[in-house]
Amino acid sequence: MDTEALERQFQARIDADERIEPKDWMPDAYRRALIRQMAQHAHSEIVGMLPEGNWITRAPTLKRKAILMAKVQDEGGHGAYLYSATETLGVTRGQLIDELLDGRARYSSIFNYPTPTWADVGAIGWLVDGAAIMNQIPLCRCSYGPYARAMVRICREESFHQRQGYDIMLQLARGSDAQRRMAQQALDRWWWPALMMFGPPDADSKHSAQSMRWKVKRFSNDELRERFIEFTTPQAEYLGLVIPQGEIDWSEFRDVLDGHGPCNRERLAARRRAHDQGRWVREAALAHAAKREARLREAV
């Protein structure tokens, strides 16, 4: 069959809402687009461990510390799971991590913002996980099987995280003046970056149309953004917090994306440091495994 016929057949399967599986034929562009999106998603989970990990040692109660540790661990688990799902498309986790560390691959820009107070941990759970869920629930029906299945599991945990984040905010909102101020300031800091998580306005979104045709994406950036605002507004009212008014500053979005956010350098540096300092450990594990195997062979 020629490529054109294969592509027609492929699109027909997508239009019939069939799932594409790793061994099925798929257009190169579809494979490349999925690798890009899924790897970006996996990297976001890994880099996303850092801003919240910043508060593990300072969580204000032991219960909050345990919840936060478990949450950051879940993110690592999501990363591992998504890297595996991406590997079904013919790349290795090692390649993907190299691309993250040398700056070729992207991760969600939101994680380039700092967490100066405990309230930022709450705001991340409430707003950032909230926005992520909004983005990710449609992905549970995405046309690529391994990605869709990964997202079902991840969304379940994310909604748990979102409630935990909101609970932190609720406690602060009912607390002292200083705690309420802390909560409001965190909302002020995270509101705009959270709205930017849905991507550029539809008119400027370069990947959107094709992703929609492939049913990797099912709703436009602006639709999801509006839905998020509708959801979040009454939640903020219940907290007695005020949602910032105004317009999204898209020049900030582009600057942070281009590497000029408040913590871009620190985030990548932290990942690189962990990777570099872990090299001798990974080498030791490989060397030991080789020795064991050699000993087993001798014994046979």
């Binding site: 890994i46 461990m49 850092l50 990990g53 593990i56 040692t57 300072r58 969580a59 204000p60 109660t61 032991l62 219960k63 909050r64 510390k65 345990a66 540790m69 478990a70 950051v72 661990q73 690592g76 688990g77 990363g79 591992a80 890297y83 405990w118 932190i168 406690q171 602060l172 009912r174 607390g175 002292s176 200083a178 705690q179 932290a270 440091r273 962990a274 300092q277 872990g278 090299r279 001798w280 450990v281 990974r282 080498e283 030791a284 594990a285 060397a287 030991h288 020795k291």
Partner: protein, 254 residues
């Protein structure tokens, strides 16, 4: 059980709680910065277990003390010299060799200790130890597995693991050296017999070190015991960081 001074019983449980809490705090620093993603997940598992055990032990200690202090008051509102953790647990993460050696030395001790405490005459302590023991078995598999890989890995990893053991070894002295609290608690059927713990600990250490092709360091004279509140310079900073919010917002709820 009623014959023992309640004070000693409280302090005995507090020592166990503090060691777990401080080690969990150290491991918590590493989450997101480990040598590989699997190690981020593994270290977080161990940290979560230790923290969970510490919370149960602190709550129990608070009840034994009878002054209304809960887990958070004990964790966040005590000063450095009131912490009774083994100094082994407050040692910095260092490189992965230090982290693993510290964990291995601790897990090997905890598994022996908690094996006995699961039979304690204090039923709450016995229940906590029995639950913890299942987790500790997994921790020891993890830390011993890594120590073997590092010891019997490359020249560099062997040297690093060796250096880590040398560095940490003095801090193992207090683990199996009974003082009057340990003796009184053992006599009352509440605490463990540290002589038996030592034999089990020695055997585990020797077995794993042999497999890891690492030498057991010589034991130096060492008289500074964290369980008596005698700490080095690391603990103060660890606590300052851990306690910052509770200290700077007195009375707030979180």
């Amino acid at each position: 059980m009623s014959a023992v001074l309640p004070d000693r019983h409280f302090l005995y449980v507090l020592r166990l709680a503090d060691s777990n809490l401080v080690l969990a705090q150290r491991l918590g620093e590493l989450i997101g910065h480990a040598p590989a993603l699997e190690e981020d997940l593994g270290i977080a598992n161990v940290a979560l277990d230790l923290l969970g055990q510490a919370r149960l032990l602190l709550a129990h200690a608070g009840v034994l003390e009878g002054r209304g202090r809960d887990e958070d008051m004990l964790a966040f509102l005590r000063a450095e010299h009131e912490f009774l953790n083994a100094t082994l647990t407050e040692q910095p993460n260092g490189d992965f060799g230090d982290t693993i050696a510290r964990q291995f030395l601790y897990d090997s001790w905890q598994i022996e200790l908690y094996g006995q405490l699961a039979q304690s005459a204090d039923p709450t302590l016995a229940a906590i130890a029995a639950k913890a023991l299942k987790e500790t078995r997994y921790h020891l598999r993890y830390s011993a597995g890594w120590l073997v890989r590092l010891g019997d890995g490359t020249g560099e990893s062997h040297a690093r693991a060796h250096a880590a053991l040398e560095r940490l070894w003095p801090h193992t002295v207090e683990l199996c050296d009974p003082d009057d609290i340990d003796a009184a608690m053992f006599a009352a059927g509440i605490g463990a017999d540290l002589a038996t713990v030592r034999r089990g600990w020695d055997r585990r250490i020797d077995e794993t070190l042999a497999e890891a092709t690492l030498e057991r360091p010589a034991t130096p004279p060492w008289r500074w015991y964290g369980k008596r509140g005698e700490h080095g310079e690391y603990l103060g900073r660890l606590l300052a960081e851990m306690q910052v919010l509770q200290r700077s917002h007195p009375g707030a709820s979180w």
